[in-house]
C-alpha cells in the first residue's frame, strides 16, 4: 500500500524508529500495520486528508514517535485477532494512567522525565496530549518506584500538576483490551472524588462502588450513619485521616498535629453520639463508605 501511495504522493516518507521528533512540515499517519508515514503538507489538499483518514489514522506530531514496543502494545490492545495475544511479556506488567494539566507542557518533556525516572525507555500510550498510560514492568522489590513518593519531585521538575492512577499487575495478555478500557474508564472519573493525586486500583474500588448507588440512597446512608456529624468538616477530616493512617491512632494524631489523647477523646465522643466505633474494622468500613457516599 505504501508503494502505491508513494506513486500518488511523491514526498511520502516512512518514519524510522529512533529519530525522536516528527517533522511538522509533514502530516503524519499511522497505517493498520502501525507504520508511521508522512506526506509534506504542501502536497496535500484538505480533500486528500479526508480521503486518507478513511484508511489511515492521523498521527499527532506533538506526540513522541512511538517506539516498536509501544506499537506492539497498541496492536495487541486493538487487535481482535486472538493470535496476537499469544505474546507474553517476560514480567508481570501494569498500566499506570497519567494526566497533567492541558497545554502546560509538551508530551515529549513528560516522556523524557519518565525515562529519567525509570532510567530506561518505558512504553507510553498517549490518549491525547495530556493523558495516557505508562506500561510498567514489575521490577525487583527494591527497585520498584512508588508513585506516591515520586509525584512531588516530578511536579517540581515538570512544573505541572500530575495525577496517577495505578492499575493492578497483570501476567498475560488475556482480556488486555478490557483491562485497558476499564482502567481508562475509571481513571477519567476517579479524581473527582478524591483529594489525592495518586490512586491505585485497590483504593479506587470503594469510590466506584458507592458511585454506582443512586443518589437518594447515598444521601440517606450518609445521613443515617454520620448523623449530626454530616456537616462537621473537622470531624470528617479527622476520620478521613484516621482511615488513611490505617486506624493507627498515633500516626493519625501526628498527621493531624493533635495530641493522641485528644484524638482518643474525639473518637469516644463520636462513639457516644452515634454508637459507631471506628476503631473497629466493620464500623470503620461503614463510616468510610458513608463518607464517600456523602461526596
Amino acid at each position: 500500500m505504501i508503494n502505491q501511495l508513494k506513486e500518488v504522493f511523491s514526498t511520502l516518507k516512512v518514519h524510522k524508529d529512533g529519530s525522536n521528533q516528527l517533522d511538522s512540515d509533514y502530516k503524519w499517519f499511522a497505517t493498520d500495520k502501525e507504520e508511521i508515514i508522512g506526506i509534506r503538507n504542501d502536497e496535500l489538499t484538505s480533500k486528500d486528508v479526508s480521503l486518507l483518514t478513511t484508511f489511515l489514522t492521523p498521527y499527532n506530531v506533538k506526540f513522541p514517535t512511538p517506539t516498536q514496543a509501544e506499537r506492539n502494545w497498541r496492536k495487541i490492545i486493538y487487535s481482535t485477532d486472538l493470535g496476537e495475544k499469544d505474546w507474553k511479556p517476560s514480567h508481570p506488567f501494569r498500566f499506570v494512567y497519567f494526566s497533567f494539566n492541558k497545554n502546560q507542557i509538551e508530551p515529549l518533556l513528560f516522556k523524557d522525565a519518565i525515562e529519567g525516572l525509570f532510567d530506561k525507555q518505558v512504553p507510553i500510550l498517549w490518549e491525547n496530549e495530556h493523558e495516557g498510560f505508562i506500561i510498567e514492568q514489575q521490577m525487583m522489590e527494591e527497585e520498584s518506584i512508588s508513585y506516591e513518593q515520586i509525584i512531588d519531585i516530578l511536579m517540581s521538575d515538570l512544573y505541572v500538576k500530575i495525577t496517577f492512577f495505578v492499575g493492578p499487575y497483570k501476567k498475560d495478555m488475556e482480556d488486555l483490551t478490557l483491562y485497558y478500557h476499564s482502567l481508562t474508564n475509571i481513571a477519567k472519573r476517579i479524581f473527582h472524588y478524591t483529594t489525592k493525586s495518586v490512586l491505585t486500583y485497590v483504593e479506587a474500588i470503594p469510590f466506584l462502588l458507592t458511585k454506582q448507588t443512586d443518589e437518594d440512597l447515598r444521601l440517606d446512608i450518609s445521613k443515617t450513619i454520620l448523623q449530626e456529624y454530616i456537616h462537621d468538616e473537622e470531624t470528617i477530616h479527622m476520620m478521613d485521616t484516621f482511615f488513611q493512617c490505617n486506624l493507627n491512632l498515633s500516626e493519625t494524631a501526628k498527621v493531624l498535629h493533635l495530641h493522641r489523647n485528644s484524638l482518643q477523646y474525639r473518637l469516644d465522643r463520636f462513639f457516644e453520639k452515634t454508637g459507631i466505633d471506628i476503631r473497629q474494622f466493620q464500623d470503620a468500613m461503614t463510616v468510610s463508605l458513608a463518607l464517600l457516599a456523602r461526596k
Binding site: 494539566n101 502546560q104 523524557d112 517540581s156 515538570l158 512544573y159 505541572v160 472524588y193 493531624l256
Partner: protein
C-alpha cells in the same frame, strides 16, 4: 526581585469544598513569609495556587506587577520544595539536582555551574556521586533544597519541607534554611503547621484557619497582640489560657474569684461597653507568677490554686491547675518542690493579659 500580591483569592474545589476564601496578602521582596495553621486550613492550597498547580477560582495573583493567574507554572519563575523529599532513585546527587535543567535543555556547562554552586552552598560537594539510597534524611533534604536553588528562581515555595525529619534534624535544618535565605535573599513562602517553626523562621507569619486569614504580622507582634482567641491559642506553647468571666466594676469576675483589671485595660473595656458583660480573659502561662514579690505587689490578682499536675522541665515547671472549675496552665521557675495536690498562690499579671469578646472571640482593643 519579586513581590507577590494576592487579591480576594478564593479556591473552590470540584467537590464544592471552599478551601481558601477572601485571601488578601502582599508578600514583600526578600521576605520569608510563613503560612501557619492547623491541618486542612488551606495552607497547601494557597501555596499551590501561587505555584500554579491549582487553578485560582476567583481573585488575582500578581508576581511583581504581572497578573499571573493564567501564566503556566513554568513561566512564573518559582521553585518548589515539598514535604516529600524523595529523589530520583537511579540518579546520583548531581543528576538529581541537574535533571530539571536538563529537561529544559540548559547547556551542559551552565548546568554544571549551577549545580556546583548549589552543592557548595549546601555542603554537598563530596556527595555529588552518591545515589539517594546512600544518603541520610538530612542530606536528602539538602539535595531537595539544591534542586530548588539551581533554578535561580525569584520565589521559593516550600510546603512543610521539614515535617518528615526527626525532631533533632528538623531544628538543624531550620537553621540551615534560614542561613540559606539570608544568603540568597530569595522571597520565600513557607508552609508549616508547626507554630514553633513559624515563630522562629518567619519575617512575617500568616495564621490561617478554615481557609481564612486570621492574622498577619511579625512573630512577636502576633504573639503579643493576637487578634482573636484562635490566634492566641494557636501561637505559643504551652498555649494561652482562656478563662470565662464577667467585667464587674474594676474586676474580672469568675463567680467568687475576682481579679483587678489594670487601669489602661479597664478604660478600653469600659469605652467599648463591656461593663457587666461576659468576656474572655486570655493569659499566657508565663504571665502567671508564683514569686513572692509579685504576690506581694499584686494582692488583687492573686489566686489560690490547687495543683493537678506539675511537670518539671528543667529550668521551669509547667503547672496544670484550676480556678473556678476552669483549667489553666502556668509556667514558673523550678525553685520549689511542687507536686500534685499542693495548693499554691499564683499572681495573674493582667497587664500582660488580653480580653476577648465572648461572642465574636475578637480581642477587645
Amino acid at each position: 526581585m519579586a513581590e507577590l500580591k494576592l487579591v480576594n483569592v478564593k479556591k473552590v474545589y470540584d467537590n464544592k469544598v471552599v478551601s481558601v476564601e477572601d485571601f488578601n496578602l502582599e508578600i514583600r521582596d526578600k521576605e520569608f513569609l510563613v503560612l501557619v495553621g492547623p491541618s486542612g486550613c488551606g495552607k497547601s492550597t494557597t501555596l499551590r495556587m501561587i505555584a500554579g498547580l491549582e487553578e485560582i477560582s476567583s481573585g488575582d495573583l500578581f508576581i511583581g506587577d504581572k497578573r499571573v493567574n493564567d501564566v503556566p507554572p513554568k513561566d512564573r519563575n518559582i521553585a518548589m520544595v515539598f514535604q516529600n523529599y524523595a529523589l530520583y532513585p537511579h540518579m546520583d546527587v548531581y543528576n538529581n539536582m541537574a535533571f530539571g535543567l536538563k529537561l529544559r535543555k540548559f547547556k551542559k556547562d551552565e548546568i554544571k555551574k549551577r549545580v556546583d554552586n548549589a552543592a557548595k552552598i549546601l555542603g554537598l560537594e563530596n556527595l555529588l556521586n552518591r545515589k539517594p539510597k546512600a544518603l541520610s534524611g538530612g542530606q536528602r533534604q539538602r539535595v531537595a533544597l539544591g534542586r530548588a536553588i539551581v533554578r535561580d528562581a525569584e520565589v521559593f515555595l516550600m510546603d512543610e519541607p521539614l515535617s518528615n525529619l526527626d525532631a533533632k534534624l528538623r531544628v538543624q535544618m531550620r537553621a540551615e534554611i534560614q542561613k540559606l535565605h539570608s544568603r540568597l535573599q530569595t522571597t520565600t513562602i513557607y508552609v508549616t503547621h508547626d507554630q514553633t517553626e513559624a515563630m522562629t523562621m518567619a519575617t512575617r507569619l500568616v495564621v490561617m484557619k478554615d481557609g481564612i486569614i486570621q492574622q498577619v504580622g511579625a512573630p512577636k507582634e502576633v504573639y503579643d497582640e493576637p487578634d482573636n482567641v484562635f490566634v492566641g491559642g494557636f501561637i505559643g506553647s504551652p498555649a494561652m489560657n482562656f478563662l470565662n468571666g464577667k467585667l464587674v466594676g474594676n474586676h474580672f469576675v469568675m463567680d467568687d474569684v475576682k481579679l483587678l483589671v489594670p487601669d489602661g485595660r479597664l478604660k478600653v473595656l469600659k469605652e467599648r461597653g463591656y461593663d457587666g458583660k461576659d468576656i474572655i480573659l486570655g493569659i499566657r502561662p508565663e504571665d502567671i507568677n508564683d514569686e513572692q514579690v509579685f504576690l506581694d505587689f499584686s494582692p488583687e490578682t492573686k489566686v489560690s490554686a490547687s495543683v493537678e499536675v506539675a511537670e518539671l522541665m528543667g529550668a521551669e515547671i509547667i503547672l496544670y491547675s484550676q480556678v473556678n472549675n476552669q483549667s489553666f496552665v502556668a509556667r514558673i521557675d523550678s525553685r520549689f518542690n511542687i507536686s500534685a495536690g499542693d495548693t499554691i498562690d499564683l499572681a495573674f499579671d493582667l497587664s500582660k493579659a488580653h480580653f476577648f469578646d465572648k461572642e465574636t472571640e475578637q480581642r477587645i482593643k
